[in-house]
């Protein structure tokens, strides 16, 4: 197994690490049992994600994908953030080892969960199929 230089860069000095007291949306996915939890905080103004922070418990690629994914949505409209795919994150990181692809999926889901939370809190209507429950969601797994 081997990480790209890009992954190691983002792991060594991850961007957007931190919590956010006054977040407009918070998403948490993954579970401790599997060794990965990602928590993302977004601040939204005029439909634009003006700030984003993350906290991640997990391996180097979990931290690097969190860092890259938050970079990729910062300053973007919420609607665009929703379109961010895990493949795009993997590509931006110059690839991930096969066994680590799930980390990028987690990052995609964390963003979606944060947006959903933002929508819910603000009474914004949305197509619920956008946020289908996934096996990696923390709450889903915790009961096991």
């Amino acid at each position: 197994m081997e990480y790209s230089e890009k992954v190691m860069e983002h792991f060594a000095t991850p961007h957007n690490v931190g919590k956010m007291e006054d977040a407009d949306g918070i998403g948490e996915v993954g579970n401790a049992k599997c060794g990965d939890i990602m928590k993302m905080y977004i601040k939204v103004a005029d439909g634009i994600i003006t700030d984003v922070k993350f906290n991640t418990y997990g391996c180097a690629s979990a931290i690097a994908t969190s860092s890259m994914a938050t970079d990729m949505i910062k300053g973007k409209p919420v609607s665009e953030a929703l379109k961010l795919t895990n493949q795009a994150v993997v590509e931006a990181l110059d690839g991930l080892p096969a066994v680590k692809i799930h980390c990028s999926v987690l990052a995609e889901e964390a963003i979606k969960a944060a947006v959903k939370d933002y929508y819910d809190k603000n009474g914004i209507e949305y197509d619920p199929t956008l946020f289908k429950e996934d096996c990696c969601h923390y709450d889903h797994h915790h009961a096991e």
Partner: protein, 393 residues
């Protein structure tokens, strides 16, 4: 500072071993099975190496069979005894829950072929109970295979007592001593061992060479068929240089055993004490009954792979039982076997020392770990939750 602290994974080849290898990598390259002088010179190298390994372990020279390493030795011993005993209708194997995969995957394969496997518990301290072995032995037990010392948490098993119980009941006893040979004093006869696996690169010998001790009289079927090498028991042109390196390294380790043990035990205990100062940490495996170089500690709220990669950035090579380092979804079966919850197992760190580690290196590790743990916990939602649950937030 560069600190290599993963000696349980592999060790640096000793200078003595390398020097013992060089003649066979250059001029004395003949085939050890050939009759002409060049071949006979190689043959002497093979036999001298075999005798040296045997001498350290209290075995007869002819009871040592060279293999390509510990994995092959484990596979050979277990599959061989299984084949031998199946003919007598014995299809039950007793092992422990925290064996190396070379043992666990082998018995799993035998299970698919109709063997019944008993996995003995190892309890919180990581030590098999002799009583459990005794109680597990049945009429149709073919083999008991219990490791000598665990590769992750370093706990040493009561091998002589397990062997005695096996012999009382007429059952063969194999021990995977890959982590023990060269690190603790072993006498196969006094310790009632019938078969024992070892691997040179765990005691500063070369990789890709190991041996199986197989007590005289056990007609173990071959795993690798072919030429008449190893007295017809293990085919393949002899890697004489590797055998010579293994013998030299083992002799060197054995000569310095008392001295190394004293030094290592002190370093190990210093490291354990230093790291346990980190809040919410715990030592895995029995504190006393463990290999002199093994430290295994779990830190709550952090994940092992990140921990060891940040350590690597500080020049420290270590290992972890997290799922991520194994490529599987589950953390180390060893840590689960001693009762750790998944999330604690993910946060484990193994530091395995050798006699060339220094006090300065230990202190360097003790100084690096806490700041990395703090950094990881600061960004860990799991740690946040733990703190909340404990009312600290």
């Amino acid at each position: 500072m560069q600190v290599y602290a993963d000696n349980a994974a592999t060790t640096k080849l000793s200078e003595t071993a390398l020097q013992a290898m060089m003649p066979y990598l250059t001029d004395t390259f003949g085939n050890a099975s050939s009759l002409y002088s060049l071949g006979q010179d190689a043959h002497h190298g093979v036999q001298a190496s075999r005798a040296a390994v045997a001498a350290v372990l209290g075995a007869d020279t002819n009871e040592i069979y060279f293999t390509s390493g510990g994995s092959e030795a484990d596979n050979w011993a277990i599959k061989g005894v299984a084949e031998l005993m199946a003919k007598k209708g014995k299809k039950h194997i007793i092992t422990s829950a925290f064996e190396h995969h070379a043992v666990l995957h082998t018995v799993k394969k035998l299970e698919e072929q109709g063997f019944r496997i008993t996995y003995l518990p190892v309890y919180e301290n990581g030590i098999v109970k002799v009583e459990d072995v005794k109680n597990a032995i049945c009429e149709d037990t073919a083999l008991v295979t219990i490791m000598y010392a665990n590769n992750e948490i370093g706990t040493i098993q009561p091998v002589a007592e397990i062997g005695a119980v096996c012999h009382e009941k007429g059952v063969l006893f194999h021990t995977d001593a890959v982590q023990a040979v060269g690190h603790v004093a072993i006498d196969v006869k006094a310790q009632n061992i019938d078969l024992m696996s070892m691997s040179a690169h765990k005691f500063h010998g070369p990789k890709g060479i190991g041996a199986l001790y197989c007590k005289k009289g056990i007609r173990l079927p071959n795993l690798i068929e072919g030429g008449a090498q190893e007295r017809g028991r293990r085919a393949g042109t002899e890697a004489v240089y590797a055998m010579a390196g293994m013998a030299a390294a083992l002799t060197e380790a054995n000569d310095a055993l008392a001295q190394n043990t004293a030094k290592l035990t002190a370093l190990r205990d210093r490291l354990i004490d230093g790291l346990l100062k980190v809040e919410s940490s715990r030592l895995n495996g029995d504190r006393q009954n463990r290999l002199p170089g093994n430290v295994n500690i779990s830190f709550e709220g952090v994940e092992g792979e990140s921990l060891l990669l940040y350590l690597d950035m500080k020049g420290i090579s270590a290992s972890s039982g997290s799922a991520c380092t194994s490529g599987s979804l589950d953390p180390s079966h060893v840590l689960l076997a001693i009762g750790l919850p998944h999330e604690v197992a993910h946060g484990s760190l193994r530091l395995s020392l050798c006699e060339s580690n220094t006090e300065e290196e230990i202190d360097y590790i003790i100084s690096c770990v806490p700041e990395i743990i703090e950094r990881l916990r600061n960004m860990s939602p799991l740690w946040e939750r733990i703190q909340k649950e404990r009312g600290n937030l």
